[in-house]
């Protein structure tokens, strides 16, 4: 086992899949240099015909992926910031999501839309979004939100091999996170949640950076409350069965996610748990999300985005215990 950063784990996934299948290529603005380092070094190995720098046009990036996928390729298109997906909303949410379905299953769209999600870098309202619920809401798109280097590599390899459009959000604040990644080949399947920490008193379902926050909080309070941290890893497909099983054990649920609270990931997961396991709940579930505001830049960013303290407060609320040191 090696200890490598999340960013390098993603780079390895791309390089391995490009070497494995000549139909795989990368396209986006400045993917040759790699704005976040995720696609860096690929052009030296695979050349500019398979690592395509486009003009500044998210629509052209998305269209290239969409069209090439229909024509038999397996493109990986990088949007840079997740916020920029909105610019190509028609191509991602309307076309890519619907076209296999709308054409009676006669075309396939094996493509990956990569984008950096998340705040914490004080980049302001148009470079800090985590639009997971937008993607989750749209039938026809799969969604991966890895929280560790191991998952980032394994999920990206699965995403590239999937015969459907996959949105893959890598979190900006996780790119430097180091973690164990095996030398040997592996993939992480979609729709299989991972119990990142076992516990018995409360279930915290978390995505991306919030998984790391939840693990830190769980460790801090471990002498007073036993927290189970579940990472769904993919939000579509969603492994609701594993979440329900955990809630049946703990009786308490917190969902921590960085997207806006209203109509968000937490709302969806909590609703599904209530529908499936209402009688198992010993307390009302809690959401930990971004406030229903645009994400501000500068020092006040933290007042809108969920923090470890927000997760702690939610655990206190659902357990009725005072946990602050």
């Amino acid at each position: 086992m090696r200890d490598i950063p999340y960013r390098i784990a993603m780079q390895e996934a791309l390089a391995e899949e490009m070497a494995r299948d000549e139909k795989v290529f990368v396209v986006g603005e400045d993917v040759q240099a790699g704005t976040f380092g995720v696609t860096s070094t690929l052009v030296q190995r695979f050349g500019p015909a398979r690592v395509i720098d486009t003009p500044l046009s998210e629509t052209a990036v998305a269209g290239t992926a969409l069209g090439a996928a229909m024509a038999g390729y397996r493109p990986v298109a990088d949007f840079m910031f997740a916020d920029f997906i909105y610019i190509a909303g028609n191509e991602v949410l309307v076309n890519a999501a619907k076209w296999r379905f709308a054409h009676g299953g006669k075309v396939s769209l094996p493509l990956v839309f990569l984008a950096a999600m998340g705040g914490g870098a004080r980049n302001g309202p148009e470079h800090s979004m985590s639009p997971e619920s937008l993607i989750m809401h749209t039938p026809g798109l799969k969604l991966a939100v890895p929280s560790t280097p191991y998952d980032a590599k394994g999920l990206l390899k699965s995403a590239i091999r999937d015969n459907n459009p996959v949105v893959f959000f890598y979190h900006k604040r996780l790119l430097g996170l180091r973690g164990d990644v095996p030398e040997e080949e592996y993939t992480v399947p979609f729709g299989v949640a991972d119990v990142k920490r076992e516990g018995t008193d409360v279930t915290v379902v978390a995505t991306a950076l919030q998984v790391q926050h939840a693990l830190r909080v769980a460790d801090e309070v471990k002498d007073r409350v036993s927290v189970e941290v579940i990472d769904p890893r993919t939000l579509e497909p969603l492994d609701i069965d594993s979440i329900v099983r955990s809630v049946e054990k703990t009786g308490r649920l917190v969902v921590a996610d960085e997207d806006t609270e209203r109509c968000g990931v937490g709302a969806e997961i909590i609703t599904q748990v209530i529908e499936r396991a209402f009688d198992s709940l010993d307390a009302p579930p809690k959401r930990v999300c971004a406030a229903n505001l645009p994400i501000p830049g500068g020092f006040i960013e933290a007042s809108v985005l969920p923090q470890p303290a927000s997760i702690l407060a939610a655990i206190e609320a659902v357990t009725g215990r005072t946990l602050k040191a």
Partner: protein, 325 residues
């Protein structure tokens, strides 16, 4: 190379077939057989038929909104029977009755369609990237209307296609109206072909009622594409004989389209013009052309019967359509 007499007769036959099938869908609205809306292409047959005639089966075609592409589809080798069945909402339709009006036939280079105007450009850009990577002389022919030329996607895709020298023939089917909006009030230049200039493309403007002129211009663009010379733009000046969609008012803004304008264009019916030419140049006899007319009518009747006898799709297929395995 001048077209042979057989090829000229094929152009005639395909225009007549396109018209009979278009009329079937129009009549189907009145009869309650056509389940969705319909945007008749009567009067514009020369563009789709001339533009798609004698392409290679593996050339990609993005057909056009007018007539829902019936002329393009027929000329490219698609099944008009599946076209009718799709419009009648039947399981035997091109998209298994799921789309209502889209057509798909990957074997004949028709990978799909969109209901959002301007989607044509980014996706065909992607087909162009795929065609270039395939490196076997494939061309992409993208038909779009004067209305679509108002979209920013045109700029983004045309710019990147020119930068990458992609094998794309952009073909504007300019019928002077986008729904109720006259081109003169929506487009800042006299000719859509002028859009070639900023992207460093050559262009041709042709009489869209002359099927041979359309064919020759599109063929010129396709030959350039095959030779690796990059994209070109062809503007075909044409006119729709019917309203924007069946049941919609036939207006420019809110007033009726000028009757003298409509009459003037109807005198330039592409089928009548071409019939006179074939007879005048003694390419075919009147009885030969009458025979073609009768065959087309019988083919459309047969397709209508086939569609009416076909079952609607079963809703059980829907969950299977969302994702490919």
């Amino acid at each position: 190379m001048p077209l042979s007499n057989e090829q000229l007769k094929t152009l005639y036959a395909n225009m007549v077939r396109a018209r009979r099938f278009d009329e079937k869908i129009v009549q189907g609205i009145a009869d309650g057989k056509t389940v969705s809306f319909f945007h008749s292409g009567l009067g514009e047959e020369a563009v789709g038929v001339g533009g798609c005639a004698f392409l290679r089966p593996d050339d990609f075609v993005w057909y056009h909104h007018r007539g829902h592409g019936i002329g393009h589809i027929i000329a490219k080798g698609g099944s008009p029977r599946e076209f009718v069945a799709e419009h009648f909402g039947k399981a035997t339709g091109a998209c298994n009755g799921v789309a209502g009006f889209h057509f798909v036939d990957p074997e004949h280079g028709m990978l799909g369609f969109s209901g959002t105007i301007g989607s044509a450009f980014p996706v065909t850009l992607g087909w162009g990237v795929a065609a270039k990577m395939n490196n076997r002389g494939q061309a992409v022919v993208c038909f779009f209307g004067d209305g679509a030329s108002n979209r920013g996607t045109l700029h983004e895709a045309m710019n990147m296609a020119s930068v990458m020298k992609l094998p794309i023939a952009w073909v504007c089917e300019n019928n002077l109206y986008a729904q109720f909006m006259p081109l003169r009030d929506a487009f800042a230049s006299e000719d859509i072909a002028n859009l070639a200039i900023p992207y460093g493309m050559p262009s041709q403007t042709v009489d869209g009622q002359d099927v041979v002129a359309v064919h020759e211009a599109v063929q010129w663009a396709v030959e350039r594409a095959r030779a690796g010379e990059g994209p070109s733009l062809v503007e075909c000046k044409t006119y729709r004989f019917r309203a924007h969609s069946e049941g919609a008012p036939d207006v420019a803004h809110f007033e009726l389209r000028p009757p003298e304008e409509v009459e003037e264009w109807k005198r330039r019916d592409p089928i009548l013009l071409f019939r006179e030419r074939l007879l005048g140049e003694e390419v075919a006899t009147a009885s030969e052309l009458d025979g073609i007319d009768a065959e087309a009518a019988a083919e459309a009747d047969e397709a209508e019967r086939f569609a009416m006898e076909s079952p609607p799709p079963d809703a059980s297929i829907l969950s299977e359509l969302l994702y490919a395995r």
